[in-house]
């Protein structure tokens, strides 16, 4: 990255001459939280260790969850398949060949019951990479049905209203509806599920297109600031929802840059929330940071090298004092993680925690001339880019006129060119290659494919036929009515799921309330 080009080979006290321990660093758990969000390590002894999971029908993912918990995971992260992420039901014609192959297929309330069956929902944290309103509604309902108070639920969900259409989570909704659903679900969870982080700013997927760490965090802060202002505009007090904001960051191979990025992000967030938004609750200022190691940095060539990359990145994250880590599967270039990759990811974290013993001291790199200088530099550059973007005008305009999309496209092209030209080394891919026919280690595991879960398509068709059609139609009409007004959409969404409506149907009627077509593919008819 650019800062490396200007980096010196040695850093000295004068590189951090203006640094004040009390104002710029302070102890972990104290403002401005540069050195860590918490004063003490969690009781678990380390961070939340989890691995991205989801494939096939909800029952198959439930079995995957149990395997991970038995293997030592102390958190879960569920990801939907591509139809689910696009808010399409499995019986939509465009879903046919993608059901359950790159995540779990979820569209109805019974799916969530099955997904969470037997799990101690009030005793573990579940992170959701799902369309947020539906993930929250599904967890809320599944817990209530089992007599578990939603107020006891822990975990999180990503909110991606700004960049989802451009960066891989397209749901074919207008900007205003995307922002409203994010704000509605955050507002709902702040009231009903106060321990649940309903607002994860996901800078990971933004960064995976090839944006550099400064751009990653700047775009993340632009979105956070917009949503915070929207919630304040609704009359919410900043300290009523700010403690539930968290950030999910990427960690690529630029070891010290990534560590500095995370430390700078904590400081920037704390200063922003206190000085600009007037938060006073310490929990509003100390932002939780979750993290994934970078899928983009992994290669299809010599997949075993990806285990080494995951280790280096996870070590950087452990040294940064993040709250949760996921190690991307060594088979990431080919698929969502295989059971083998899941286990390697968990074991990587366990070895770092239990054998390398790097968490005995908090923020062990604090005070390093280099790390502190780099942290200062990252903070300044991120803030400068946030200010530059906000000076360009309203973010909805930047979304709608394709300014962000242009930024992503340039970044993708830039990253690919750096790899192609060898400017960014990738061992096994653009340097130290081996002939393709000798590249066999772990290839068989990585290249194994999952067949689409076609039984799901039949099962959802049968489910839809068996529903009380009148109830479903009435519930969908109510979603449509509320969507045309200004009330919170979570109540009618939850009621519609209870009546048997599916995510595809609920999403479709919300689209029509905003003047869009029910089905962006033009292949299914609106049921009301």
């Amino acid at each position: 990255m650019a800062s490396d080009a200007t980096a010196k080979t040695i850093y000295r006290p004068d590189d951090v001459a203006g640094l004040s321990y009390a104002e710029d660093l302070n102890d972990p758990g104290a403002y401005p939280y540069t050195r860590g969000a918490r004063a003490a390590r969690p009781k678990l002894g380390a961070w939340i260790q989890r691995e991205l999971s989801g494939e096939g029908a909800p029952s198959r993912t439930n079995a995957q969850f149990k395997y991970l918990i038995d293997s030592g995971a102390n958190g879960l992260d569920v990801i939907g398949d591509t139809p689910t992420m696009a808010c399409l039901d499995p019986d939509h014609p465009a879903s046919a060949h993608a059901v359950g192959t790159q995540g779990v297929s979820l569209c109805s309330l019974p799916d969530y019951r099955e997904l969470y069956a037997d799990l101690p929902l009030d005793g573990l944290t579940i992170s959701h990479s799902l369309p947020a309103s539906f993930g929250i509604a599904g967890l809320y309902l599944a817990a209530k049905e089992r007599g578990i108070a939603p107020a006891r639920l822990r975990g999180s969900t990503i909110q991606a209203p700004f960049y989802c259409e451009d960066c891989g989570y397209s749901i074919h909704m207008p900007f205003d509806l995307r922002v409203r659903l994010a704000a509605d679900s955050i507002e709902f969870a702040a009231r009903e599920m106060p321990k649940f982080h309903a607002f994860i700013e996901d800078t990971y997927y933004i960064s995976e297109g090839g944006l550099d760490p400064v751009e990653e965090m700047a775009l993340g802060f632009v979105e956070i600031r917009y949503i915070v202002r929207e919630l304040l505009r609704r009359g919410l007090a900043i300290d009523s929802f700010a403690p539930r904001i968290a950030i999910l960051v990427n960690c690529r191979m630029d070891f010290f840059t990534e560590i500095a990025k995370i430390r700078a992000t904590r400081r920037l967030f704390a200063r922003m929330l206190r000085e600009e938004f007037g938060a006073t609750d310490p929990r509003s200022l100390a932002v939780n940071i979750a993290s994934h190691t970078s899928g983009l940095s992994l290669t299809a060539q010599q997949p075993v090298n990806n285990i080494v990359r995951g280790t280096v990145q996870a070590l950087a994250l452990a040294l940064s004092g993040v709250q949760a880590i996921e190690v991307s599967g060594f088979d990431e270039a080919f698929r969502t993680p295989s059971p083998e990759a899941h286990l390697v990811g968990l074991r990587t974290q366990q070895v770092i925690q239990l054998e390398a013993d790097v968490t005995k001291v908090m923020d062990p790199l604090g005070g390093s001339y280099y790390v502190e200088a780099l942290t200062n530099e990252m903070e300044q550059r991120i803030l400068a880019l946030v200010e530059r973007i906000e000076a360009m005008g309203d973010a909805s305009g930047l979304c709608d006129n394709g300014w962000f999309r242009g930024l992503f496209q340039d970044a993708m092209e830039r990253y690919a060119r750096e790899i192609r030209d060898g400017e960014r080394a990738q061992v096994g891919a653009n340097i130290h290659r081996v002939p393709d026919d000798e590249d066999t280690l772990l290839r068989e595991v990585a290249e194994r494919k999952i067949e689409p879960c076609r039984e799901r398509i039949d099962a959802i068709r049968a489910f839809k036929r068996a529903r009380p059609a009148g109830d479903v139609a009435a519930a969908l009409r109510e979603v449509h009515r509320v969507a045309r007004g200004a009330d919170n959409l979570m109540a009618p969404i939850i009621a519609a799921m209870m009546a048997g409506a599916t995510m595809g149907e609920i999403t479709g009627v919300m689209r029509t309330a905003y003047g869009r077509v029910y089905d962006p593919f033009g292949m299914t008819a609106c049921p009301i």
Partner: protein, 138 residues
């Protein structure tokens, strides 16, 4: 006499695959190599791809694949091309394409396959060969 008309190439993704990095990079690479790129982007089913290929009178269809949907959609795509009497060659690229897939894809009629081991700089030349046949050495 060499054909000086630029090659027209349609770049598309299939089904619900949202991983667009490869498609965008390929589009820019081919444009930089002097080709005319019609970029169809994400969320296209075979019927839409074939219609666009016919409407735009392209010389070649390039599919960027980062989900496994190509395993299931290519048969339909070739049927639709045949039904319209089109003989436009189809090339497929993406990191998820394995060596075994490559054989299967070629048997189905795919003219060139760019798996993860293929250097990006080889792609424009391979597409030229697919469209114009082997060029005599100068």
């Amino acid at each position: 006499m060499p054909d000086l008309k630029p090659i027209r190439v349609l770049i598309s993704m299939l089904g619900l695959d949202q991983h667009e990095v490869g498609a965008i990079t390929a589009a820019r690479l081919l444009r930089d190599a002097g080709m005319e790129v019609i970029y169809l982007g994400r969320f296209n089913l075979p019927a839409a791809i074939v219609k666009a290929a016919a409407d735009e009178d392209v010389d070649v269809i390039g599919l960027s694949c980062h989900s496994w949907e190509y395993m299931h959609y290519l048969g339909e795509l070739f049927e639709l091309l045949r039904a319209r009497g089109l003989t436009i060659p189809v090339v497929v690229g993406g990191s998820v394409i394995t060596r075994e897939d490559e054989g299967r894809l070629r048997a189905q009629g795919v003219a060139a396959v760019f798996g993860p081991a293929v250097p990006a700089e080889d792609i424009p030349e391979a597409i030229r060969r697919v469209v114009r046949g082997p060029q005599p050495a100068v």
